[in-house]
Amino acid sequence: MSSSAHISGRSYWSVVFHQLKHEPVALCSALVLLIIFFAAIFAPLLAPADPYATSMIHRLQAVGTTDHLLGTDELGRDMLSRLMFGGRLSLLMGVAPVFMAFVIGTSIGLFAGYVGGKINMMIMRMLDVFYAFPSVLLAVAISGALGPGMMNSLFALTLVFIPQLVRVAESVTTQVRKLDYIEAARMSGAGSFSIIRVHVLGNVLGPVFVYATGLLSVSMILGSGLSFLGLGVKPPEPEWGLMLNTLRSAIFKEPLIAALPGAMIFVTSIAFNLLADGVRSAMDIKR
């Protein structure tokens, strides 16, 4: 690459960031996500109305009604406010399980890959069992058995993602462990912990990070899906999946309003996926 001379002084991550700036699709997705996150985080300040305030006479008003820019839901609550507040829980369902699984999965994967041998095989065989469950089924099974509730579905989703991230972390660690410089570090007297922290982790974080960004949209769709089934967030809490469920009765009267929460999930998940694609190709510096 011709520009390698002038970026050679930078760290890996700043090179990645530099490359990402040249991907218009990824940048647009990042912008969309930024707006959605901003609206969700500052919902208490930005929302035009109280998302819990019901009104029997203003039920299912059409999009564009004065006072209600995006209409009202089946209980007369302001849709725009509910969508903004709903983003808080829906985005949390997308990000939190992936983050937790990232931390736990990377740790287990590093340990398994670094220790190697029988212990590694035992851990990986145990995780293979989780691979025998289609992810939706596993999430529904766990949160179904635990009973409805947001913490239970967060727990279920985290458990669904851990085996996948362990597998990525383990396979990279196993490859890196055999390299000469690790052997050199060991001979120079470095302990296992510092070898993992200084020499292995840097190599493992990248691939696991790429994989985890790809999971964000899956987590978001699954998490809202659990709420859609009635297993996640409980009413009257605003959450996109749950809103989609309670508005199902309105698809004949106000189809546009009934489809809105799902459109939010869709837009967010596309943006997550396109950003993940951008990050993946930006981090592939070998190009």
Binding site: V129, V140, A145, L146, I221, I251, P255
Partner: protein, 317 residues
């Protein structure tokens, strides 16, 4: 080949056992005593004690698992708390409905995924490639339960082309291969096929584009072979991977159909699971998960065994 099949079979056994163990433990994951699911909370103490013995709950956990497994292998998955009917019968009826839906959706998804992916891979970087890539991103990003609602709004409410609910006229739960039932299949199958469509398009596109760059294809071209013959060679080399991905996807569909079945009130496993969860009918939940996962394990096994039939190199790997 014989030893390969044996090896695969042996490898599947611990996985299948693990699946049974997790399904078994689901009962203990549920809050409260597992007896709460069977007996009303105000039952007299002696009834509870009698039930404990009857269900084997007085024995240590590993032994309970052994007994449960022994019964499960014989097809006895217990009795539904809500309906009092055997779980196995209820689950099998629902599974057959789910298989119809997942099978058709999978077939559509695999066929069009291969077609789109092959076209996109062949004309790499062209307009059709962009369209296919765009469609596959949509396919993996769309919340399918929402897509189901949107399709219902368009084709059921506005155009009134297809029915929105159930698997047959008059809410029949019995599946028949006739026109009236097929009409009910259209929307759920279209909704569900989007998931494999996206992923298979992506996989096939990458595979074909990669394959066309390989030296053997250039050699075939140099020998003056026609595009159709070259396509045959490429297809043969991509088939094992496509098969593996398709098999996995079909399995995911059986799980993923839970949400779509709820949207369309399709009388399959998703519907059954949903009812079971809200009636706290843990034996049905357990049985459904167990049978679906066993299907998934069997499906993976079949894919593993078919793969080397297409590509003999895999046996040695």
């Amino acid at each position: 080949m014989f030893f390969y099949v044996i090896r695969r079979l042996i490898y599947a056994v611990p996985i299948a056992l693990g699946v049974t163990l997790i399904s078994f433990l689901l009962v203990y994951l549920a809050p409260g005593d597992p007896l709460n699911a069977i007996a009303p909370s105000d039952a007299p103490a002696e009834t509870i004690a009698a039930l404990k013995v009857a269900y084997g709950l007085d024995k240590p956990l590993p032994m309970q698992y052994g007994l449960w497994l022994l019964r499960a292998v014989q097809g006895d998955l217990g009795v539904s708390i809500a309906s009092g009917r055997p779980v196995a019968a209820e689950v099998l009826a629902a599974v057959s409905n789910t298989l119809v839906l997942a099978g058709i959706a999978g077939a559509i998804g695999v066929f069009f995924g291969c077609l789109l992916g092959a076209l996109a891979g062949y004309w790499h970087g062209s307009g059709i490639d962009r369209i296919a890539t765009f469609l596959s991103v949509i396919g993996v990003s769309v919340p399918h339960y929402w897509l189901g609602m949107v399709l219902t709004i368009i084709f059921s409410t506005w155009l009134a082309w297809f029915p929105a609910m159930g698997a047959g006229p008059g809410g029949s739960a019995e599946w028949l291969w006739d026109y009236a039932h097929m009409r009910h299949l259209v929307l759920p199958a279209l909704t569900l096929c989007v998931i494999p469509l996206g992923i298979i398009t992506r996989t096939v596109r990458a595979l074909v584009a990669d394959m066309l760059d390989q030296e053997f294809v250039i050699a075939l071209r140099a020998r003056g072979l026609s595009n159709i013959t070259i396509f045959k060679h490429v297809a043969k080399n991509t088939a094992p991977t496509v098969l593996a991905v398709s098999g996995l996807q079909l399995g995911y569909l059986m799980g993923g159909s839970i949400l779509v079945e709820t949207v369309f009130a399709w009388p399959g496993t998703g519907f059954l699971l949903n009812t079971a969860i809200f009636q706290r009918d843990i034996p049905v939940l357990q049985g459904t998960i167990l049978i679906l996962c066993m299907f998934f394990v069997a499906l993976n096994l079949i894919v593993d065994i078919i793969q080397p039939l297409i590509d003999p190199r895999m046996v040695r790997a």
